[in-house]
Symmetry: C2
Subunit: 243 residues, 2 copies
Amino acid sequence: MGRMGWDEYFLRRGHSVHVMDQAWRGRSASHPTQINPVRAGQAPAASLPTVFAAGREDAWRIFRFGARFGESYPGMRFPLAAQGEFWKQMVPDWNFSVGTPNPSVTALNLIARRLGRVVLMSHSQSGIYPFQAAVASREGIAGIVSIEPGACPAATDDMAPYAGLPILVLWGDYVALSSRWAPRLAGCLAFARAANAAGGKVEVAVLPEMGIAGNSHMLMQDDNSHQIADWLVGWMARHIPPG
Amino acid sequence: MGRMGWDEYFLRRGHSVHVMDQAWRGRSASHPTQINPVRAGQAPAASLPTVFAAGREDAWRIFRFGARFGESYPGMRFPLAAQGEFWKQMVPDWNFSVGTPNPSVTALNLIARRLGRVVLMSHSQSGIYPFQAAVASREGIAGIVSIEPGACPAATDDMAPYAGLPILVLWGDYVALSSRWAPRLAGCLAFARAANAAGGKVEVAVLPEMGIAGNSHMLMQDDNSHQIADWLVGWMARHIPPG
């Protein structure tokens, strides 16, 4: 709706910003060798990757615009007037066929090592990647901001990799109304307790509990996106040690 | 190699710039319904799309870095020191399964209509699209710059859609050495003759004939890319009528 995106906004607030395209989503999603051997009859159909895409009816609920397609939660702040442009940005997700180690995680480590003193910020399905990067190596990682992650690390995981690292897990509104997201927020709270009992510095922030109401899963696109960005800039200033 | 890309450079030279991702290449290349029914055994393998990608060995020749992988033409100006980053940007081409009309062409018409007085600039495989857009509608199209197009319109096509429209077809160096590109340049010259005989304003410019030597097929990334951009800015100033 004409507002500046977070990439430019964080830049104007004094942070260098590097935006990463995930391996297996977006531009670099597919490989001919996954498709062509099957087409040529040289490999079985079952060897094709699993390709997922949420239609807008499902996505409406997943993104917590409302309980049913076309109805929005009271006070919900995603700019639905622009939804036509938004849906055009949806891309298929080939991520189910990603190998181990996930090349996006390896790339996060590489970027952190090159740049140094990096805050790794993730959202939704990519939410777990900064945590996985920290497990691989803490080199260059100054903090993690994970926004409505698909998963936090399990509370039963080894918590040593997170000790002393400033970590914020941020959630929007209406989470308790969502059978998809409520358990994930609960999982992040359990992770925070386990990590903090082991020397962690994990904060789980839920926007409506701080008086900021109406945010969907796509909170960086909601009509108060700059207010949330400002709050994140403040959080980083308070928690990330100066370089 | 650290130079500004053409998108930013043209902007700094006073042109609004809109960069388009082709339908079926890059971010929006694939659709789950092409893949999943075959995986589920509900459609035959032959219904899979054709997915093409040039490996770097082939691409080396196609892009006219040199005659054989690892050898470069004398004076060739692509910054091979950065080829590692360049190869990372290669994406599979699903374009063979694009429907009719090609949605990229429809999108060019839509953009031209919205913005008005647009110069449609294309490169390589996308080279023909601005011509196809002009055939569909000239509304909003002020000119065409096609850089080493995979094809120009056939000289036997109806030339009426191009009458009076400033069109530049630009070529780099070493074209005569390439069995892939030499016939395409010849095809563009034939198109220019046919169009200009029917009231067209088509110019085919070959950089080495203007004293600019060493350019590969990726001339917007060659080490003299700003020199070529400057020349294009001048060409537009001379040929596109003021708004």
